[in-house]
């Protein structure tokens, strides 16, 4: 049951092959069975079964939609009312969110069954899920490897069949890179497509929530539920959401695909390159035309990103001060002590590094050299992509320069870790939509194909991914031991 698509499950529920309660129980059992993966921070078993019961009633009365009764798991960055929302941090270990994120409300309205909250890098800062207060998540394809991050719990849970689908958030690659490392489909929508209300902010001008699923078709269904205008989010876009499922079967004949030469240069592992090249060949078979393009300023994406993301996070994380919610240190002697120790004791190393970096970059005397400079570089990068997307319909390349690395391998070298985000980060700077689609294996570990589209071209991206998944079965493979 855990390998079925959402449409298959929806049909099964309607045909009475199984109930939502049974389906939910199956997944709850699997979560317990595979808890060594450490994919979940919180399992909401009782709530899930209650919701499943309600879903069964809805199904019986015919008021259901595709997601009604489908077990889903949420990245622990989305606020869930009355349920612990930790953001992977000791700071929020005691935080029972007093309200629901807009995304959560939408899933609730759809009647989806929340199984629990998924592990992640603390405050979404990281590329390996090793920065979680709740410990590292294991990659189901290789228990010694990282699942990627920051949505590592989401990717591992979907890959291991511990949820039908999951949500993730992507600030610099946090949906696509773990999707790539765990062999699932992940989509980072255009900035503004999915509401950020109730999604705990890391870097507000870069953060975007999106689906992490077993297939493009599932992603279309989940994105359909997540996307849309939210009056509570000033950066939410007020434009119609297309029918993503309806667009899946458009032909790719004549599709022009751009391959940026900067994506295939030095630093890309040859085995990963080979997988990507093979995938491109499949697209040629589907009628696509290949063109070499250039994103000349790509090399500056990492520095620009780390200035902007750090600056924004340094302010976004100031609200964690031990006054109104979250962790408070014991017996503060004065106000400064309350701040310094509460924050010092409850934030992890990577979070501290970025807060310090951002504070420095914004401080008097350095603003122009770092923050303003980074914003100018950001414009140049965005313009590189705009220009490229006038030449071609979509851009393809690798998601990550190598397959999932080993747990502990890079944790003590933050800079090396940052450099591995080279292909994903630039997309967030520009605010474009992009996907990771399973495209094969290298060293027995999954490799994702990166598909980048123009603003609000999610429907086209899903169509392009779906057509590929119709002629390949990489997305249907299950890791050994989790079949």
């Amino acid at each position: 049951m855990h390998t079925k698509t959402i449409i298959e499950l929806a049909q099964g529920l309607r045909a009475g092959d199984f109930s939502s309660v049974e389906l939910t129980q199956t997944f709850l059992n699997r979560i317990k069975q595979y808890d060594t993966l450490n994919a979940y921070i919180t399992v909401t078993e009782d709530l899930a079964l209650q919701t499943a019961q309600a879903a069964d009633l809805k199904l019986a009365t015919g008021e259901a939609n595709l997601l009604t009764g489908i077990p889903i798991a949420q990245k622990d960055i989305f606020c869930t009312q009355g349920v612990k929302t930790s953001c992977g941090s000791k700071m929020l270990d005691n935080f029972l969110a007093p309200y629901n994120a807009t995304v959560i409300e939408k899933f609730n309205t759809a009647g989806a069954v929340m199984l629990g909250k998924l592990n992640m890098d603390e405050f979404a800062m990281g590329s390996s899920n090793e920065n979680s207060y709740y410990g590292a998540v294991k990659n189901p394809w290789d228990l010694n490897a990282v699942p990627g991050g920051s949505s590592g719990g989401s990717a591992a849970a979907v890959a291991a069949g511990l949820a039908v689908c999951a949500t993730g958030t992507d600030t610099g690659g946090s949906i696509r890179q773990p999707a790539s490392h765990c062999g699932i489909t992940g989509l980072k929508p255009t900035y503004g497509r999915v509401s950020r209300y109730g999604m705990i902010a890391y870097a507000s001008s870069l953060d975007q929530g999106g689906p992490m699923t077993r297939s493009a078709e599932d992603a279309a269904i989940v994105l359909q539920a997540m996307a849309g205008f939210d009056p509570k989010d000033s950066t939410s876009v007020d434009c119609a959401v297309p029918d993503y499922l309806a667009g899946l079967n458009t032909s790719l004949q004549g599709l022009s695909i751009g391959l940026p030469k900067e994506f295939f240069g030095e630093g890309l592992a040859p085995d990963v390159a080979a997988v990507i090249e093979a995938a491109i060949k499949e697209y040629q078979k589907l009628g696509a035309i290949i063109k070499e393009i250039s994103i000349p300023n790509l090399n500056l994406a990492i520095p620009a990103y780390y200035v902007i993301a750090s600056a924004e996070c340094s302010a976004n994380l100031s609200r964690f001060d031990g006054v109104r919610f979250g962790y408070r240190c014991k017996d503060p002697v004065d106000l400064t002590d309350l701040y310094v120790r509460s924050r010092g004791e409850a934030f992890g190393k990577e979070v501290k590094r970025r807060i310090l970096m951002g504070t420095y970059a914004l401080s008097a005397g350095y603003y122009d050299a770092y923050y303003l400079k980074a914003q100018k570089v950001r414009r140049l990068i965005a313009e590189d992509f705009k220009r490229a997307l006038q030449e071609v319909d979509v851009i393809m390349g690798p998601v990550a320069p190598s397959v999932a690395f080993g747990i502990g391998e890079k944790i003590n070298n933050p800079i090396e870790m940052y450099l591995s985000d080279i292909y994903t980060i630039a997309i967030n700077l520009a605010g474009l939509p992009a996907m990771s689609v399973p495209a094969g294996f290298a060293q027995h570990k999954p490799v994702g194909l990166h598909i980048i589209g123009n603003y609000f071209a999610e429907q086209r991206l899903l169509n392009i991914a779906h057509q590929y998944q119709k002629i390949t079965d990489w997305h249907q493979k299950s890791p050994k031991g989790f079949e």
């Binding site: 005691n94 029972l96 007093p98 900035y191 503004g192 001008s205 870069l206 009056p231 950066t235 876009v237 007020d238 090399n299 500056l300 990492i302 520095p303 620009a304 780390y306 200035v307 750090s310 100031s318 031990g322 006054v323 109104r324 919610f325 979250g326 408070r328 004065d334 106000l335 309350l338 310094v340 120790r341 924050r343 010092g344 004791e345 934030f347 501290k352 590094r353 807060i355 310090l356 970096m357 504070t359 420095y360 970059a361 050299a369 770092y370 400079k373 980074a374 914003q375 100018k376 570089v377 950001r378 414009r379 140049l380 965005a382 933050p414 800079i415 940052y418 700077l429 520009a430 605010g431």
Partner: protein
């Protein structure tokens, strides 16, 4: 480009971030490394380039002036570290 331990302490104070004395050196090293990454940008001529603060280049949407929120302070304060008579308590504020 490299930072000193005292720079790091100064920034940490500005950010009200407690850092173990033992870790200062490691943070100094890591932050210096990050700065070295960032100074790469200075090689690029960006004269006349308009800074891009946000990927959405449009105007702010405005909200109608209506009271839509009700009093929920009891629920909100149920998760607070320390409250009394509806107030959040903190160590004495000195002005």
């Amino acid at each position: 480009m490299s930072l000193t331990a005292s720079d790091v302490k100064k920034i940490a104070h500005l950010a009200r971030l407690g850092i173990d004395e033992l870790d200062i050196e490691a943070y100094t090293h890591d932050l210096s490394g990050m700065l070295n990454l960032m100074v790469q940008m200075s090689d690029l001529n960006t004269d006349g380039i308009e800074p891009m603060a946000h990927p959405m280049e449009q105007g702010q949407r405005l909200r109608t002036d209506e009271v839509t929120e009700r009093d929920q302070h009891k629920q909100f304060q149920a998760i607070a570290p320390q409250v009394d008579s509806g107030l959040y308590l903190v160590p004495k504020v000195i002005e």
